[in-house]
């Protein structure tokens, strides 16, 4: 088996609640929330690991830990064999090119005051030395790769449909030629016909660029379509992990069994 591209080793993240004015004055009132509790998992080159769980189970916090957008309270995170849990921003920057994230709501993750051209140019400027001409060509190529046309470059996010906005967010992630992309509920806000378009696009891009995905969703059926393996999170812990067939067809943990029993199905 190929070596893990991303690895979490006993990673833990604790948040302090009630950090507002009252929390500071009445220190005793502070409550702690163990958002991610001693999670270990590995994601291998070229695979898709699905991550499912209900809201508040710690899925998104784990995603942010793997990208080192936040620092773990305890435990380690490795990317491509390198421990990144203690690295500072400067040391992380070259690594950031290898890892990207796509969020649920592209309307919130795209700057409304920037055109698609500006949105896609920024990562190119930050990470590559390119001539103006090269950048324009790359931009057209990116738009084509996600099923948009060069005409879309001049548009602003509010002039695009939800599906198109998500395509722009995907193009932005692809711009830096990453190896690893976290998809955090990328289709949850989309209509089912558009959802299928975006899932098909993600599948195609994975094959074309040998991408590694962590695919997060509360929807087991959606995860099933893309994931090679599935991890189930409950209250900060990974309670079950295995091949997609195994987890869906022969769930071992009572929580996974409950999730599967709750999902309404079509004949």
């Amino acid at each position: 088996m190929s070596h893990p591209l991303v690895e979490a080793m006993h990673v833990t993240k604790e948040f302090e609640l009630g950090g507002g004015a009252f929390g500071r004055v009445f220190a005793r009132r502070r409550r702690r929330l163990l958002a991610v509790d001693d999670v270990s998992l590995a994601i291998h080159q070229g695979e898709t690991l699905g991550l499912v769980g209900e809201s508040g189970s710690g899925k998104s916090t784990l995603a942010r830990l793997l990208l080192r957008l936040i620092r773990p309270t305890d435990g380690g995170v490795c990317f491509d064999g390198q421990d990144i849990s203690g690295l500072g921003e400067r040391a992380l920057r070259p690594l950031r090119r290898g890892m990207q994230i796509i969020f649920q709501n592209p309307y919130a993750s795209l700057n409304p005051r920037q055109s698609v051209r500006q949105i896609l140019s920024l990562p190119l400027r930050l990470h590559f030395k390119m001539t103006e001409r090269e950048r324009r060509d790359r931009l057209d190529e990116l738009l084509r790769q996600v099923g948009l046309s060069p005409d879309h470059a001049g548009r602003y996010p509010h002039q695009l449909s939800g599906g198109m906005r998500q395509r722009v967010a995907i193009a932005r992630a692809l711009a830096v030629r990453p190896e690893f992309i976290i998809c955090d509920e990328p289709v949850s806000a989309l209509d089912v016909s558009i959802q299928a378009q975006i899932l098909a696009l993600l599948q195609r891009l994975q094959q074309e660029f040998h991408l590694t995905y962590l695919f997060i969703s509360h929807d087991l059926a959606v995860v099933r379509q893309l994931a090679d393996r599935i991890a189930v999170m409950q209250r900060g812990k990974v309670v079950e992990i295995g091949s997609a067939e195994q987890v869906i067809d022969r769930p071992q943990h009572p929580y996974t069994q409950m999730l599967l029993a709750s999902a309404p199905e079509l004949p």
């Binding site: 089912v192 016909s193 378009q197 999730l259 709750s262 309404p264 079509l266």
Partner: protein, 325 residues
Amino acid sequence: MDALLDVQGLKTHFGSGEHAVRAVDGVDLAVQAGEAMGLVGESGCGKSMFARSLMRLLPPNGRVVAGQARFRGEDLLAKSEAEMCALRGSEIALVLQNPLTSLNPTLRVGVQIGEPLVAHGVARSHRGARGRVLELMRAMHLPSPEEHYRQYPHELSGGMRQRAVIAAALACRPSLLICDEPTTALDVAVQAGILELLREIKDRHGAAILLISHDVAVVNHLCERLAVMYAGRLVETGPTRDVLAAPKHPYTQGLLQCVPRLRTRREMVPISGEVPDPAALPTGCKFHPRCPLVEPRCLDSEPPLAPVGEGRLARCILYEQGRSL
């Protein structure tokens, strides 16, 4: 038997003239007493505006421009505001997606559940309504009614809030419950609980349910019949089991192929393109720009809903008279 609710040719437009947004553009739909009817469609297809038209709760710039909605034989669209007030919450009740916006954050939960009882004169005061409210809360399987009665909405979980909203909706024993995406904001286990509750309401209390949802699987769970809406009109109706087993309209076929299945992993077959802008609908069949079976005739005129089997209708030239099924 006459239907409990019989909608004919309902049209709801926003604005006027050439640029009018035709949100609902000629919908015929009947709901029988005690049945659960599902209305399925993607966002912007007009399903919520259809519900709001029936309740006469349209936003100020929207108006019903044509059609009838007979409820127990009387046209809801012809009623005065006072007559509608007497019906809303007593005979017809509405449950919306987000219980936190349906509930008043400054009032205790029990008082809000009792509100329709007091408003419609079933109880003289909130104190008088208390017993019935507690009984309703128990029927909704709220774990500790006495305690929840005194609580405010923010003290309840999302699922409990939706149960409280449904309790209020059922307080006056309505014969029709309209639920607009009642489980969309909820986790899957909580959703299963609410769907179970709706089934109980239908089976035990005999209320008819019009369930509006983007999720075919949710509708399948509860409804005997379903209607598929696209661009302001129905494109297919029929018994849920039959429609899902063998959809007739190309849109329904495409939609069902887009729904990810839990038990199988298969190639995604998306419908190409996007839902049309209701202010600039295509000519002829509204689905033709996305339809894999499009013919030149589809651009000319819109086909009517035509019978395609036992209790089934579909709006497609494939099924117009003279063609074989």
